[in-house]
Symmetry: C2
Subunit: 342 residues, 2 copies
């Protein structure tokens, strides 16, 4: 029968008839140990299946060299795959590379506030939290445990309270809205998500403000992010159904998947994009690029945000001053067929 517990350095010492000190020396090539002794120790260690505990080894240094990335909207999505939402995949990939370049590893962590979260979920030297929710418990937990963190986008109910990378949601929404008008829109509606994050909030606020300035009535519908492309028909019913007064001739969808759903649902019911309906998305993905017509999207440059976030996280982990601009790059508008008439 196997012993269920892992063999420790003591077990090896006992089995080899030496002291733990000597085992440590032999296995790590430190100190001076007679060749034969060292060899015997290595053999015994292999026999009992000994593996040094990195945790115990780390106790003296007390620094793991580990960053964590928590992508809050992940659980509002039913997939993490590239076709759906490549923003987060690009963010995670770029963050991992940036961490490596600075001598850190980066892990993707599930909600660390879960009661059964693994130890690793709270073991990182610093955290990056992407798009926190309102009153986000993750931020609360990290802050209570005094674990350093930086968020990308702010907690909408506690803006400026923690270290955060400022995004340009408002300006970016206006960029899209103005583009739609330049493309010929008379009446722009907004399709937002149901997550309570700063992206949705700010964009909606910007839209309302923009409408007020133009003297247009805001026309807003919210659908869950998790519904993805499936919202297409419901959204069209909402905006063009019998109960709809004054249907829009342009639609700004905050998520790429919603836009993709609208795009294909429109085709199915004979609403021509862009002739009858101009369509733009706030955060696009591959599918918006290869659809017919292609959908105009914002490229939020997750790679740049990731780099900056990692830079900040490393400085926090090392107790260095944050003398850098705490903001992300501005998004770029990728204009495609859905807003290009004639």
């Amino acid at each position: 029968m196997q012993r269920s517990a892992r063999a420790t350095i003591k077990d090896v010492a006992k089995a080899a008839g030496v002291s733990p000190t000597t085992v440590s020396h032999a296995l790590n090539g430190k100190g001076v140990v007679r060749r034969e002794t060292a060899e015997r120790i290595r053999r015994v260690a292999a026999e009992v299946g000994y593996r040094a505990s990195p945790i115990a080894q780390g106790l003296q240094n007390s620094k793991l060299g580990l960053l964590a990335l928590v992508i809050r909207p992940l659980h509002s999505l039913d997939t993490f795959l590239p076709e759906g939402v490549d923003y987060f995949l690009r963010l995670a990939g770029a963050a991992s590379l940036a961490a490596m370049e600075r001598g850190y590893s980066l892990m993707l962590v599930d909600d660390p506030t879960k009661p059964d979260a693994p130890l690793s979920a709270t073991a990182a030297d610093a955290y990056i939290v992407s798009e926190p929710f309102a009153d986000d418990p993750v931020l609360t937990l990290l802050s209570e445990k005094r674990i350093p963190f930086v968020s990308i986008g702010s907690d909408p109910s506690r803006p400026g309270r923690f270290v955060e990378l400022e995004t340009h949601d408002w300006a970016e929404a206006v960029l899209v809205l103005d583009h739609l008008v330049a493309a010929g829109a008379q009446r722009v509606a907004l399709l937002t998500g149901s997550d309570a994050n700063s992206w949705n909030r700010e964009s909606e606020d910007a839209y309302r403000h923009w409408c007020a300035e133009r003297g247009q009535d805001p026309d807003i519908a919210a659908f869950p992010e998790a519904e993805g492309e499936r919202v297409g028909d419901a959204a069209l019913d909402r905006f063009f159904g019998p109960s709809a007064t004054a249907p829009p001739d342009a639609l700004f969808c905050l998520t790429g998947r919603h836009a993709a759903g609208v795009n294909s649902a429109a085709a199915a019911r004979g609403i021509r994009v862009p002739e009858d309906l101009l369509l733009a998305a706030g955060s696009g993905a591959l599918q918006n690029r290869i659809s017919h017509p292609g959908v105009t999207t914002l490229d939020l440059r997750p790679e740049a945000s990731a780099q900056r976030a990692v830079e900040v996280a490393v400085r926090l982990a090392e107790g260095l001053p944050l003398d850098l601009p705490l903001e992300v790059e501005r998004a770029v508008l990728d204009v495609r067929g859905s807003t290009t008439r004639g």
Copy 2:
């Protein structure tokens, strides 16, 4: 002046005039502590900037709940971004999610054999190594430290020696080659990479064998993976230049970026794809999908490999038996314009 070392539980205890035990109780809500004492302790802890060391806390449990992914070819690439090689990004994303579902975090780790690798680089409960090189030092290190690991693809010089997920490189190469012939190819050349991994090795072996069976001379060129799209002209010179005898009418590129480079270089010099040259790639990405013409590629299904690898890694970490098929899903051929004549 700030004390450079982090405050410990002792510091808090001293400052609050209590014992470390009481601090531990108060901060973790364990045991029984008078309200006021607990509050004072929390206040003092905040003042001195105390944060419990997750490493010390983990000593008793001795399990981090952490998986590591090492993508070996990462350093042969000059970018990790989706346009270049989305295989690894998809692999990493899917592996992270699969890990979360099983209560683990997953970190992307740089070469753990580097002398200045952070502690985290060797602290995972189990490792996944994607596409190891020949005599890969990472596998050697993990095996010596008795850290459990599974590789996706085998170490070409030590196949079957460790726990590995079998890939179907050979069969997949034949799938592409036969497809090229079915699409009208008479003479198929191979453009491989310079990394010594099983993907390149197996595919080349399969190609040679396939040629032998058909009585064709193998025509092979190798270019570094890191060159990416830039190999286009050099590759065409190699196959169609003055020194080339019997130019091919079809080219199988093992990497998508090489294929993309060939595709655009061919257009530039008036070689028509697919009319003059049939083109297929072994591992494609977005760019092969949206180029003109689109390039026929193998979809290696990294999501499925990731899931399986995580499953195996978790079992290894927990000491469970490996009663599952140790292989990845077969790739699917995405046929596009580059191999569709007329």
